[in-house]
Amino acid sequence: MAKEYRTIDEVAGPLMLIREVENASYNELGEIILENGEKRLCKVLEIDGSNALVQLFESGAGINLENSRVRFLGHSMELGVSKDLLGRVFDGMGRPIDGGPEILPDKKMPADGVAMNPASRNYPEEFVQTGVSAIDGLNTLVRGQKLPIFSASGLPHANLAAQIARQAKVLGKSENFAVVFAAIGITFEESNFFIEDFKNNGSLERTVLFINLANDPAIERIATPRMALTAAEYLAFDLGMHVLVILTDITNYADALREVSAAKREIPSRRGYPGYMYTDLASLYERAGRLKGKEGSVTMIPILTMPEDDKTHPIPDLTGYITEGQIILSRELYRKDVVPPIDVLPSLSRLKDKGIGENKTRADHADVMNQLFSAYAIGKDAKELMTILGEDAVSEIDRIYVKFADEFEKKYISQGFYTDRTIEQTMQIGWELLSILPKSELKRIDYKFIDKYYKGSE
């Protein structure tokens, strides 16, 4: 029986100091036992001689320095995993909250994960058709990628994420597919939207949910994505499933991180977030991927809301430096009733180049993609100029580009949340739009594709 300490010396915010501790180790999990028998979890942040500084995962309310006891558990944060995780709902610490039985674990896995050896990664290059043109055609998702959605308050990121979860498939294959969903500090309504959506399309039994709602302890949010990713890794690399992980909302996670850092009186970096936030976020995002010699994959779609729609805010900024691209939602497009309001120009998928082309999507995919991007950018610039100076001030060709840009938003991007387009359809719409432009403008496309697909006038 592990030793119980009654030597809690300080509790302040999410931190607690315990004295006269023997044999505790860094990152070890501890259990606080309140007078009424209630148990709460904490983990060791620093151990200095016999003083252990621990971080609470739940509220400190009710902790009494006189009567509360602490027991160290001899291991770091873990999740018991088995096939029975599927279809279940857990709280942010991985305890079942759906009224069902406890999981009888096949094994216990450390929730912090262990870094993948870069030499054993398998480069993601399998095209995932999401049925969304702005993603499939221009910012292609591949299996094992981490592709976040940068959203802002009031934008329909949940609808887009649900659409991807509903429609995503790899062409020509029917495989073991699972969704791991982590709600990090979001509202009941938003979380319920996802659950209802999973229910409606019958995927709930292939889904594992970890729910930390807005009224659950903020500090638990540090554990929630780790629990979810541990479950995902188990399903992917032990059971060989293809797992899509949706983490929403990373902004709440980062705020919890800031809260702990502030309590520890660490020197803050930008906007009060800790200097190690890049490393910390990387320890989550980098858990996506594929491994050589393993069947499954972890594909990750983290969602974050950019404070004040600002992409340079530390949370989206650091995320963008780690993830393999980003899908950015635009308020301006949403106001114009373009749904999903994906702002394709600043959006990016870094892994698209190896996932598209002949035998994967279509041989002309890369050329069409580059041409659409460049034409839309020119069209948007010209449009801006036209609104300032009037139609006469821009050249003939610019007016054509403006028309292109309008049509592009209407036909290519705005497809609604319930249209599932095949890659062929997406490519076809792309060519219809490019045919608005004169042939000589299609500098980024090989002649042979122009001959084959171009339908415009000379």
């Binding site: 770091s76 054993s120 020197i267 890049y278 980098e286 491994l291 900024d317 120009l345 892994l351």
Partner: protein, 589 residues
């Protein structure tokens, strides 16, 4: 020497404090705890030592032991480095994978170089020769592209008493050296070098030749010299990594050291998969046969990230010392600086700007200063070029890491997110970037490519500058309000941007452009511009000029391979004369 054994008293993330450590040296490597994690002593107070641990410290607690190895952080150098991938402290990742599986289990150690592999050694010295430090004693064919010269370590000199030809393992004795003090040094194929110290050279020399990269915007407008240092700052998504990968692929260096410092795991995998497939245009061998990879990805321990840049540059220096021209890419130096910041914070040092330690600037300078054109100890003239990526938060280069870097580097390739949104790659902003090596290497271009090179470059830069100015005016008054000559300038600048500066890294021909082809491309565009300006003065209109069919051919010129370009150049050149000439006639009537 007796081994010092200390006891852990404090654990705070990657920082550990141990007592009974009086008998150790600052910066010695220690093995920490029951798992034997690798750490480095970074501070000493009385008998307490602060240790930064290069592995995750979860589960380590007070009372566990710390054992000193009595040597500083160093890397094993010798045949077998090329083509390998190593972590920040030089452990071979492929071997770790064989030993421990897909994930990086803690406490495993493996020597950098294979102990089993047998190398065929050919001596180039004889018994009786007197050798200076750093002298070459023989060679090993390391890959089909690289001959690995075996050198005396930089602190060993003396008389060869024995040297043998034959097959050897990495640590077999291949000969003996009698040192000046009379003692004997046993020569092996490998040597160790402390990573935080520069490997000595005879002399540093100023750079005088360009490092040709095959990237048009770089070679033509903002070239880097062999032995030069360049920085590529840019926000995420602006294509830093692609620029770095392109340089690693096409730079005309003999050896490439690529450091993935705190970046994405998949990017390293990409290099690992792709480089063995790509042919080096110079040697005809695969690129992997000249590349060394250091991978300390963002999810790997932060302290080892700090070490990774030093490990990388020490390897680069070692190959430089053999006489090879080496180019090193570090992606990204910002992650390294953040690792410094994290350790500094845990040591409770007084922070400088934005929490970075006050010594950030001097550490950066120290690192970049290890680049340069040099005369090696064994008398070879060669160069080590360094290209560092910087990831400024929000793309704002007023932050400390960018600013400290810009004070040191001489080439600045400013990546611009607006260009990236337009999918103009490489997104190097031509108005903000600069190269301070231009004056030193412009003669090289004029002598080796064409005497016209610097004139063309100046004209191109001028047109781009003018375009920026004219664009401002157009924004105010509309395109029709400016003169035809000015509109022609804008037309030409557009042509330069789209047909010359824009380069598709994923196109099999466009990905690399020889200097000769770059010159021909510039010539074509400027020829079009000069002739057009002339006919405009004789009454031709802009829309006539902008719609000549040959323009499309100019734009397609980049897709022709080097063996067709002479022919195509002549064709297009004549075509320009004919088509624009026709317009001139219209003007005369």
């Amino acid at each position: 020497m007796t081994q010092t054994k200390g006891t852990i008293v404090k654990v705070s993330g990657p920082l550990i404090v141990a007592k009974n450590m009086k008998n150790t040296n600052l910066f010695d490597i220690v093995r920490v705890g029951n798992l034997g994690l690798i750490g480095e002593i970074i501070e000493m107070h009385g008998d307490k030592a602060s240790i930064q641990v290069y592995e995750e410290t979860s589960g380590v607690g007070p009372g566990e032991s710390v054992v000193s190895t009595n040597y500083p952080l160093s890397i094993e150098l010798g045949p077998g480095l090329v083509g390998g991938i190593y972590d920040g402290i030089g452990r071979p990742l492929t071997l770790l994978r064989e030993k421990a599986g897909e994930r990086l289990t803690r406490g495993i150690s493996a020597p950098t170089l294979s102990r089993e592999k047998v190398w065929e050694f050919w001596p180039s010295v004889e018994a009786g020769d007197n050798l200076e430090a750093g002298a070459i004693v023989g060679s090993v064919q390391e890959t089909s592209a690289i001959v690995h010269y075996i050198m005396l370590p930089p602190n060993i000199s003396g008389k060869v008493t024995e040297i043998s030809q034959g097959s050897f393992k990495i640590d077999d004795a291949i000969g003996k050296i009698q040192l000046e003090n009379g003692s004997e040094y046993s020569l092996t194929l490998n040597q160790r070098s402390p990573v935080r110290k520069q490997r000595p050279v005879k002399e540093k020399l100023p750079p005088n030749t360009p490092l040709v990269t095959g990237q048009r915007v770089i070679d033509s407008l903002f070239p880097i010299a062999k032995g030069g240092v360049a920085a590529v700052p840019g926000p995420f998504g602006s294509g830093k990594t692609i620029v770095q990968h392109q340089l690693a692929k096409w730079a005309d260096a003999d050896i490439i050291v690529y450091i993935g410092c705190g970046e994405r795991g998949n990017e390293m995998t990409d290099v690992l998969n792709e480089f063995p497939e790509i042919q080096d245009p110079k040697t005809g061998k695969t690129l992997m046969e000249r590349t060394v990879l250091i991978a300390n990805t963002s999810d790997m321990p932060v302290a080892a990230r700090e070490a990774s840049v030093y490990t990388g540059i020490t390897i680069a220096e070692y190959f430089r010392d053999m006489g090879y021209s080496v180019a090193l890419m570090a992606d990204s130096t910002s992650r390294w600086a953040e690792a410094l910041r994290e350790m500094s914070g845990r040591l409770q040092e007084m922070p400088g700007e934005e929490g970075y330690p006050a010594y950030l600037g001097s550490r950066l300078a120290e690192f970049y200063e290890r680049a340069g054109r040099v005369l090696t100890l064994n008398g070879k003239e060669t160069a080590l070029s360094v290209i560092g990526a910087v990831s400024p938060p929000g793309g704002d280069i007023s932050e400390p890491v960018s600013q400290a870097t810009l004070r040191i580097v001489k080439v600045f390739w400013n990546l611009d997110s607006q260009l990236a949104y337009k999918r103009h790659f490489p997104a190097i902003n031509w108005l903000k970037s600069y190269s301070l090596y231009w004056d030193k290497i412009k003669d090289w271009f004029d002598e080796n490519i064409s005497s016209n090179w610097s004139a063309l470059r100046a004209k191109i830069l001028e047109l781009l500058q003018e375009e920026a100015k004219l664009e401002e005016i157009v924004k105010l008054v509309g395109i029709n309000a400016i003169s035809s000559t000015d509109r022609m300038k804008m037309e030409a600048a557009k042509c330069i941007r789209e047909d010359f500066l824009h380069q598709n890294a994923f196109h099999k021909v466009d990905t690399y452009t020889s200097l000769k082809k770059q010159f021909l491309m510039m010539s074509l565009i400027l020829k079009y511009f000069d002739l057009a300006t002339e006919v405009i003065s004789r009454g031709a209109t802009i829309s006539e000029i902008a719609s000549v069919p040959v323009k499309e051919q100019i734009g397609r010129f980049k897709y022709f391979s080097d063996d067709e370009i002479d022919k195509k150049y002549k064709e297009i050149s004549t075509q320009i004369e004919i088509e624009i000439g026709k317009l001139a006639k219209g003007g005369d009537e």
